[in-house]
Amino acid sequence: MTLPVLSIIVFTPIVAGMLILLIPGDRKREVRLAALAASVVALGLSLWVYLTYDRSAGGYQFVERASWIPRLGISYYVGVDGMNLPLVLLTGIVMFTGVLISWGLDDRPREFFAFLFILATGVFGVFVGLDLFHLLFFYEIAVFPMFLLIAIWGWQVTREYAAMKLTLYLFIGSVVALVGILAMYFTSGLQSFDMLALEQANFAPDFQRTWFPMVFFGFAVLGGIFPFHNWSPDGHVAAPTAVSMFHAGVLMKLGAFAALRVGIMLLPEGAKFWSPLILGLATVNVVYGALIAMVQTDFKYVIGFSSVSHMGLVMLGFATLNRDGLTGAGLQMFSHGVMTALFFAVVGMVYDRAHTREISKLGGFSKAMPLVALAFIVGGLVSMGMPGFSGFVAEFPIFLGLWRAQPIVAIIAALGIVITAAYIMRVIGRVFFGSMPAEFEGHISPINNLDRIALVVLAGILVLVGIQPAVMAPLVQSGADNVIRLLGGA
């Protein structure tokens, strides 16, 4: 009997969340310490799994399986491969830094961390799930705490609207996918929700073409695919900092990942049939998202729309259906997750001090908080796909794959990168350089050590993957090979 590491990772947050609820509400320090301890455990274990995963062997490792609802062939079934392992690590990182950033939260931190951790359990559960029912179960667990987190602790102006919009969008997506999943289950005749078994089910091409859109787009709503991306910038902006980090950093990957696992991997014929449409929509994501980001006057909305744009690159990578594209998409999910968490952390730190996010009213923050400015610049360079940063490592293979699949799309999508450079430069120039408005002079307090740790961790990872891609790229490639095998070895 080996240690069930993945289960421990999955259930640490929720158990910690329940224990936190038992702490009296006014003992806020204990609440925070408990939250930090849980996130350290989750991060440490996911890092350990990441490092000990046997890359030469590949395939699914750390597999655990237990019968759950035997009558329907449902099991609790978890394992990691090259595709989901970086995402597990990503979740650990964002959870840890999210707790650090939220240290100063003073309104009911107990409930805040409890809900955040329920969310984290849902996210971990989806990433490691190898059973369709299991995946859906945790997927929805990840969706609903978001409502409360945004509605209670979010930005007062839009939180109610944004929380409701986000929850309904995501719920619509997941229930639509549910119908598709049930159709797969009954059509396969295997009496099993085991995804590895369903991969071999050989669904008829007609069936795949009919159901692929429901399943893929059902999940891709959470991945922010155009035209279902509308919930995401509103949600990002309304959410409190740690939740924005989780939301853009991890939750959008959840949608993209599920779309890949369930849509593309189980219905490969459908994926081939519909890939032109996905290419088209994802290109709109990339270019249109970047353009909209360009004209935003609110700092946080810039980042919100940049997520839409960058998730478009992930979808583009999927739609290439070739090895380079999928590897790039896998790397982009990780890279963008860390990058956007960093961005939102920075936005939160600026907003907490300036109490405004209007870009025109900000300026000169690099003098008051140099580390924050540096971190944002690192994130910006990642975002532009600058060599030496993780963004390049991810985007280069995507464009390589894209060129091979559909050169014209590659050319159009590359425009998005140019626009990205423009809006990132604009934000860096306006917010961090130039002269600081008089009302902020002397009022900008330095950030505390916990914030510093969070920024250094996030920026450090982006640089590390950028200068040493070998820590991640081969792993993701092995995961992409799994997908390629199902697609018929294209």
């Binding site: 609820l21 509400g25 019968s67 759950w68 609802i69 035997p70 009558r71 329907l72 409930e111 029912f133 859906l136 179960f137 945790f138 929805e140 667990i141 969706v143 609903f144 409502f147 409360l148 509605a151 209670i152 939180r159 109610e160 929380a163 409701m164 929850t167 309904l168 719920f171 619509i172 229930v175 639509v176 549910l178 119908v179 049930l182 159709a183 289950y185 009954f186």
Partner: protein, 482 residues
């Protein structure tokens, strides 16, 4: 088919009914002679829980489902399962009634409740038209009285009166259907009737007409559209524990007879009935959810939501498979425990704040974080979120629909689930987000209520996370309906 009218072993079949009768008498007696009036509710709740335990150990049906008492009753797994649901619901209702003013100390209140439960148990087992009708009335008449129990309260009186008028009318229509059935076949036993119908000779128009008449009665009990009009007014006016009881046990009892009837008859009366039931399910879900959207009173909101849930449960019936019937039973169990938890919160809140308006729930998460959490669990379970009972229950009924090729019905179901999520979230928004001036006034949670809340919340979680053994039990029940 001959069934002996009596043998000693048949006592086991009506063990819960016998004990309920004893308990009802006992409660009256204690009320006459006793001093500590608050003990009455405890006695009733403990008695009901005891009967549940006794039934589980002594009243299990044998493997061959058998008709007993001359074919009046059937001692089988579906009856057993439904009886367990009724007894659980009644016991929780007694706990919830304890501290309700002008209700919780009255012996006759508990006696009526127990008699209604007795009627439900007979409904679940009845396999003869006469028995069925008697059981329905034994259930309904005490419930009419209970709905109007607060005599000085206009709304309660209105509730009782409305419930009675609707109930009397629909049961008369149902009885008319029964008499036509008897007239055409000369049988009152359900299973002999089915044989006769299968042999043929009866015009499908006649059967369609009779089926429609009978469905009126059943539709009223489960609050299916278009027989739902009584629901919001009755739910709003009745004492809240009784609302909880009507919305859970009484609805489940309606489903117990509906599922037995439909599954017995349907194979022999033609497929167009599937279409009719599917239409009823669609209308019930959609109308319930849409009307719930605009409610400002929590009891009315839950009334419309309970209509919608009847619709979801009907999906399991429409599937006409073993798994479908099992999913219906599971759905009802999940719905019953969830709704009881929701009403427990409503009762406690009304006790402290004196209001059922949703807007007044503002600040509840600060006044009583525990109560707010239970409401969160209940609302999310009703909305169908994991890891709660409502999620797996919904997955099961939708799966049953897809299995039977009714993909469109599953899609209607999930679209409705989205609408449902919206209004449940609206309630949670008020509870967790809005502030109120009364924030510093805590809400008292007496120990009895805490017990009921914990029992229901645990049940919601257990059904949601470890649903396998319960699904097995539901399947076992479903099997003997075919």
């Amino acid at each position: 088919m001959t069934v002996p009218t009596y043998s000693p072993s048949m006592i086991a079949a009506i063990l819960p009914e016998l004990l309920l009768l004893v308990l009802a008498g006992l409660v009256m007696l204690v009320d006459l002679v006793g001093q500590g009036r608050r003990g009455l509710g405890w006695l009733a709740a403990a008695g009901l829980a005891g009967i549940l335990v006794a039934m589980i150990f002594l009243g299990r049906p044998s493997s061959d489902e058998s008709l007993v008492f001359g074919g009046m009753l059937r001692h089988d797994w579906p009856a057993f399962t439904f009886k367990a649901i009724f007894l659980f619901s009644a016991a929780i209702t007694c706990l919830l009634s304890l501290d309700v003013p002008r209700v919780g100390t009255r012996g006759e209140y508990y006696s009526l409740l127990i008699v209604a439960t007795l009627g439900m148990c007979l409904m679940a087992a009845a396999s003869d038209l006469i028995m069925l009708y008697l059981a329905v009335e034994t259930t309904s008449i005490p419930l009419y009285v209970l709905a109007g129990f607060l005599k000085q309260d206009d709304k309660s009186a209105e509730s009782g009166m409305k419930y009675f008028l609707f109930g009397a009318l629909t049961s008369a229509v149902m009885l008319y259907g029964f008499s036509l059935l008897y007239g055409a076949t000369g049988e009152t036993n359900l299973y002999l009737l089915v044989e006769k119908v299968r042999v043929g000779g009866l015009s499908p128009w006649f059967l369609g007409g009779v089926g429609a008449l009978v469905l009126v009665g059943f539709g009223f009990k489960v609050a299916a559209v278009p027989f739902h009009f009584w629901t919001p007014d009755v739910y709003e006016g009745a004492p809240t524990p009784i609302t909880a009881f009507i919305s859970t046990a009484s609805k489940a009892a309606g489903f117990a007879i509906l599922v037995r009837f439909v599954l017995a008859f349907l194979p022999s009366v033609g497929v167009y009935w599937t279409a009719v039931l599917a239409a009823v399910a669609t209308a019930t879900m959609s109308l319930g959810n849409l009307l719930a959207l605009t409610q400002s009173n929590i009891k009315r909101l839950l009334a419309y939501s309970s209509i919608a849930h009847a619709g979801y449960a009907l999906i399991g019936l429409v599937a006409l498979t073993e798994f479908g019937a099992a999913s219906l039973v599971f759905y009802l169990a999940a719905y019953v425990v969830t709704n009881l938890a929701a009403f427990a919160v409503v009762i406690l809140f009304a006790r402290s704040a004196g209001s059922d308006k949703i807007a007044d729930y503002a600040g509840l998460s600060r006044r009583s974080p525990g109560l707010a959490l239970v409401m969160l669990v209940a609302m999310l379970s009703l909305a169908g979120m994991p890891p709660l009972a409502g999620f797996v229950a919904k997955v099961y009924v939708f799966a049953a629909a897809v299995e039977s090729g009714l993909i469109w019905l599953a899609i209607v179901g999930v679209l409705n689930a989205i609408v449902g999520l919206y209004y449940y979230l609206t309630v949670l928004k008020v509870i967790y987000l809005y502030r109120s001036e009364d924030e510093n006034k805590p809400i008292l949670v007496p120990r009895t209520y805490a017990l009921a809340l914990v029992a229901c919340t645990l049940a919601i979680l257990v059904l949601g996370i470890a649903s396998a053994p319960w699904l097995e039990r539901a399947l076992q029940s479903a099997r003997s309906l075919f």
